[in-house]
Symmetry: D2
Subunit: 297 residues, 4 copies
């Protein structure tokens, strides 16, 4: 079928490839002319036959909000917009309403798989009405991995459910990464263990902990066995923060996910103000030696 695709970055570019390989006619728009098929969102709307379907794959937050507002201006009643970016699910209601005023339908789609999705397919978690989901199903069927449709695709619920589910997916992902990373640090710290990389390689088959992330860590350690070429500085994309915030709203205790999030915050601090305060306090009552700035490397 025909699809407009807004945003041809790391994810959108690959998705266009996969969709075209699956027999769909994709018209992509991106502000960078060298990758864009049309010069503007208006041109995109013109190039698509009504009723149109447009997939938005741009950074979450302001850029997504602007894109959807602009689409509300160039699309028509009966069209369908899918937000496949990492929007916070709390934005979905507003977007559905804004578009709904023009008679335009809305689906929120969480997309997992990163750069590997092009070849392996993308895990999809979508929210919207049964009717809208059915209409977009040919697109979802091409994007999702081969195999049983129930594996790799879920219609999670009404508008918002797709992004909520994707947010939880990323929260879980944070905690999984921390779990493997803590294991790595322990193996690397113990002299008995000759080669943590070999252990991570061995864990890829037959063990209880085997997983795709586990394989990736084995691969990363093969490329850089002591992780000598990388710092621990780690950004977060927002979904980890939102997961903990939503957990608080829902009164769900998430010590594992929260620990992972805080570890990322900490990784970006030169020196922890919390620990400076602990050191200062310790010095007050115990006369414990503290490391003065001048002494530290």
């Amino acid at each position: 079928m025909q699809l407009g695709l807004v945003g041809l970055g790391k994810m959108g570019f690959n998705m266009r490839e996969r969709l075209r390989a699956g027999g769909h006619e994709v018209i992509g728009f991106d502000p960078r002319p060298e990758v864009s098929d049309v010069p503007s969102l208006a041109a995109l709307a013109e190039a698509l036959p009504a009723p149109r379907m447009v997939w938005v794959m741009v950074p979450s937050g302001e850029v997504t909000r602007q894109t959807i507002a602009e689409l509300a201006g160039v699309l028509e009643s009966g069209d369908l917009v899918i937000d496949g970016g990492n929007s916070r699910y709390t934005e979905d209601g507003r977007h559905a309403e804004l578009l709904g005023e023009k008679g335009i339908s809305f689906i929120d789609a969480g997309v997992s798989g990163g750069i590997w999705g092009l070849t392996e397919g993308y895990g999809l978690m979508v929210g919207g009405s049964d009717e809208d989901i059915a209409r977009a199903m040919p697109i979802f069927d091409t994007l999702r991995p081969a195999g049983d449709p129930a594996d790799g695709f879920v219609h999670a619920g009404p508008v918002g459910a797709g992004h909520f589910t994707k947010m939880v997916h990323n929260g879980v992902e944070y905690a999984l990464m921390t779990a493997y990373a803590e294991g790595y640090e322990m193996l690397a710290a113990e002299d008995l263990v000759r080669d943590p990389q070999a252990v991570y390689q061995a864990w890829t088959n037959g063990t209880v902990v085997r997983s795709w992330l586990q394989q990736l860590l084995a691969k990363a350690l093969k490329e850089d066995p002591d992780l000598a070429n990388i710092t621990g500085y780690t950004d977060d994309s927002g979904e980890g923060r939102w997961t903990v915030e939503e957990a608080i709203r829902l009164r769900v205790p998430v010590p594992g996910i929260a620990a992972s999030l805080f570890a990322r915050f900490l990784s970006r601090q030169d020196d922890s103000p919390t620990m400076k305060a602990v050191a200062a306090l310790r010095n007050q009552f115990g006369g414990h030696a503290v490391q003065r700035i001048s002494e530290s490397g």
Copy 2:
């Protein structure tokens, strides 16, 4: 080759099956006559041609210690004992020494895979000398999963390294389980999400979080979608506790693994003394309402 196998419980029984299917001649001993091939450890030693190889697959701690002490009595110089149970790695040195005094070699082997190992193979992490490992390799090759030997098997280091690596494996496993479980609780708490099971099913393919444990949780939720037939009471086998203890020794921060361990402790308390103290304290300074025993269900 020929192998003595001591302990024919859930794990040992299946391993005997897999080894026999792989062409080895296995003589199993277990105190339960209905599954045992010989009536005693002495009979086991007699039935095996020297130099013997005996795999011990019994509960860690006292039972393993006794078994190895008895084997030291019935085996001879040149024989080899492999402890495949979940012994704490700190026991391995003593066992190696005890057996070494008789000229008997020792390998510690961490075995992962649970009840699925029979058909899929067991992930193996072993510690010992190159010579001893080479000698037992035909056994390891049958037990490990099919595929590249580096996937599913690792000679982690000298005696102790196998069990240390398996201990870390289990610590990581604790944190992975908690990560998936926290995600489940969030999905179950949010009304937008129609069916957490369908989400877990969809995550099995194409997503970043896909894993063997993730598939198992999808399966568990299929069998009991609301987990209505199970309580949260969760034992621990010892390896989670040891992992945190060793992390402390190594000065490795493991907030994720520790959170998982503490959650298990908490799951076994009728009411948390810590939270009773918090409630009592809160009552003291704020006149906050507390739940008296008589009011609580």
Copy 3:
């Protein structure tokens, strides 16, 4: 000086007492006629000479919002409203704006001390303009504890700073309570320790951990040595949740405060869905015994 006081609950009632004892003329309003000095907010406004000062001490959220909206209707330009409740600091800007449109000033005041404030004084953290704070200072001076004004009172910053500071105060309080409670549980769990209450009593003097909360726990344990008459069920007033949310916004890692918050959530669950999922998962791969509903309690 003359002050209107809206809300004569646990806190407001005592504050009226303390202010009157300090020589101020306080006119209190409360919907319960038996404690109220005037029948309505309008009557309160009439009874006070302009420019008026009105302290709001009602539950945070909807009740505070309504009260301030009504005050905006009955007060006049030049009057001053102080919100002394536990409002989230993010509300303060809106309240200041709403009142500001009528020329009414606004101060946000965090008040600590609970039921003990009547006799010992209240710790005060206020936000607003220098001018407004100066004007209300006689009231603050009576409410705060005796002693150096810098101990027990702080003008933390512009509007919002008072409630932000009080929110952090309560977040810290959560973590302090958890710290003492964890210590109690350990002492109670160890057979060597004859009487945890005696330990907590002894800690009240000379130790590094002595504090007001520590004294209160000693007192609570004296009244109920085994905490036999209390359950661990513990509510939260909102400020713990807000503290973690604001920490996330500020990218400040707060593992201690978050652990305390999550423990409260957990204390209110009959059975943890997270741990049910862990138990279910464990059962899948290991054939571990799980506690079926029928077996438990």
Copy 4:
């Protein structure tokens, strides 16, 4: 009464002062001749009338073990040794046994108060027999703070109970320090708050969070408002590690104390191997930008 005091470091030196001021005759021994009253342990034993009482105040571990072994050689049946250092309580049984073989009694004493104990008195938690405790009571009465004996002193139980209680005290102390430090970091991170020091000063009176540690942090912030002259590098004395280890043995969940301990470990790492692994992993699946060593400051 007469007392031998072994170890005249930061703690022992002050304790000798306080005991002498209290009318006791103290003979101190220290390897540093400039502070020692006698040249050797043997000389100390000779200088004291039988039955002797000797207080050991030396670093825990090897030094304490050696000192007690030497005392077993120079003391006689009927004498009494008190270990007032920060020994792990698991050592106490062995020391009691070693000394008991010679008829020498043993008390373990946890001593809190740091450098302030000289003037304010030391919080004492002791373990031993009723008879031995009664015999040493004049010493305890001088060391403890003035006031009710039940505040500042506890006979916690048999040998071992004193050090166990002190260990828990220090574990609680870790978590308290983290609580205050997290609060400081939040106040320092929020622009609305003009001066975190002023807030910590104000919290010293009337608030729920007031405590001795809280006062010390206010003092530390007064001396160095931005903690500009201190790094977050923070050692640990052992008792925090032991507390978490014992909590694991007792199956007591201690998320607050453990978080504090792990934060100290982390403060001593140049770059976290865990976070390097997370960053490496993230790079694998997402093509996320990671900070290469060459880019980082």
